[in-house]
């Protein structure tokens, strides 16, 4: 179980976040919704443990994976190495499997710079899921993609989450994405930002 309990986060004198608490059960997905600039990425940095300077407590699992807004690959290493260097316990076979699951196993030997942006994002997804994460963190994973590609990525992500079953936290400014993927949506608002509304997913066919 992931527990997030942030009392206060400030940069110098400016308070960014206050009183944000929620839990995420294994296999469920939480979306953090909010306008850009509200402090969503700050919140994710705290949840991911990238930033540890805050008041409060966050309980995480051992195996964590992250998908950034940009692919954030190592451009000087092959696509396959981008997976195996991050997950050193993983053999080349399992890494190729992970690439196969996102449909780009034929690009394994190329450098990321030789791939399109959409393919690079698939590598980032493969990297995230290859380690069988217990907690998956995604920062605007579908932003700045054209609608068709965004839809493909959304479907793919949905499928990978269902197969792997991590606790997932993702931030987005697009309500449509949140409603599509999340079991629970928390909307951030105000200054300092806090949770203003909390709603479970409405439609389940």
């Amino acid at each position: 179980m992931i527990r997030v309990d942030i009392r206060r986060k400030a940069f110098g004198e400016t308070e960014i976040l206050r009183d944000i608490s929620f839990t995420v059960a294994p296999g469920s997905t939480v979306a953090i919704l909010g306008a850009s600039g509200i402090g969503k990425s700050t919140l994710l940095n705290l949840v991911a443990g990238i930033d540890t300077d805050f008041t409060g407590q966050i309980t995480r699992t051992e195996r964590i994976a992250i998908v950034f807004q940009e692919p954030v690959l190592l451009p000087w290493r092959s696509v396959l190495q981008n997976i195996t260097l991050v997950h050193e316990g993983l053999g080349a076979g399992a890494a190729l499997d992970a690439l196969a699951r996102v449909g780009i196993v034929d690009k394994a030997a190329l450098f990321p710079g030789q791939l399109s942006l959409g393919q690079q994002r698939r590598v980032a997804l493969a990297r995230a899921f290859a380690g069988q994460p217990q907690l998956l963190i995604m920062d605007e994973p579908f932003a700045s993609l054209d609608p068709a590609t965004a839809d493909d990525m959304l479907l793919l992500t949905e499928r990978l989450i269902a197969e792997t079953g991590p606790a997932t936290i993702f931030v987005t400014h697009a309500r449509r994405e949140a409603e599509r993927l999340a079991d629970q949506i928390y909307e951030l608002g105000g200054s300092p930002a806090t949770i203003v509304t909390s709603q479970p997913r409405k439609e389940t066919p």
Partner: protein, 253 residues
């Protein structure tokens, strides 16, 4: 007027030939082999020095000093640059020192090292190293500042091992800066090594130049300096450039 179309490989060659032509012209005008011998007149003394073993002996001594000073300056300068680029508090304290050392003439450091440490190998290598460190530090500090914070965050969240991070994330990011520091480094270091040898060593190319300077033997001064230039050009072409090409191969052509 339209320039004839030349292949890119031919231009440096022609340019060097023009330099040789300039030399021949100047030597002809001087008309005194004591002051400026013809290029061809250097072959005989070159061959004599080579076969007597003197040239290889002194080249090897200078080469070893260059290698030592280069390795020390690159290592210490890289570490210092990384620390200064990563921690602004340290940078504020050390930056004035950097400015002082960057503006300290090489000659002053060399003389002080010889005075304080003695006329020995340690002093020679320390003097050259100290001369080069500030430069490497400045370049690597820029490299440290230009790092992508997202890559660091990614490595941290996925729990990448430190050794892996160093080898596959940090060093490749710094590679262009390390290569830049290395190339400008080797060029500066060998020139300072010659001065160090000139002032206080009893072997090496700089010592030989000192000797033939006192004997007013321009031919041998030229033989020794040109031989060492040739060695450094070979290092550049056969070692540094291929390494750089290999490290850069991931960039789209």
């Amino acid at each position: 007027m339209k320039w004839p179309h030349l292949s890119p490989a031919a231009i440096p060659l022609l340019s060097l030939l023009a330099l040789l032509g300039l030399w021949i012209g100047a030597a002809a005008l001087t008309g005194d082999a004591e002051i400026l011998p013809m290029p061809g007149a250097l072959l005989e003394p070159f061959w004599r020095e080579l076969t007597s073993g003197a040239l290889p002996y002194h080249l090897a001594h200078t080469g070893l000093r260059v290698l030592w000073a280069f390795a020390l300056a690159m290592t210490i300068g890289t570490v210092l640059g990384l620390v200064m680029g990563s921690y602004p508090a340290v940078d504020r304290w050390l930056d004035p020192w950097l400015v002082v050392f960057l503006n300290l003439p090489a000659l002053v450091l060399i003389v002080l090292c010889y005075l304080w440490i003695g006329l020995n190998e340690t002093a020679a290598i320390i003097a050259v190293t100290l001369n080069k460190i500030p430069n490497v530090t400045t370049i690597l500090r820029e490299g440290a500042r230009a790092r992508d914070p997202n890559l660091r965050a990614m490595a941290q969240v996925f729990g990448m091992r430190r050794v892996t991070y160093l080898r596959h994330v940090l060093i490749p990011q710094l590679a262009p800066f390390i290569a830049g520091a290395a190339r400008s480094g080797i060029a500066v270091i060998w020139k300072i090594v010659l001065v160090v040898e000139f002032l206080g060593r009893s072997n090496g190319v700089g010592f030989q130049i000192h000797l033939y300077f006192q004997l007013f033997n321009v031919a041998l001064v030229l033989v020794y300096s040109l031989s060492f230039i040739a060695v450094m050009l070979l290092v550049e072409w056969l070692l540094l450039q291929p390494i750089e090409r290999h490290v850069r191969r991931w960039r789209a052509p």
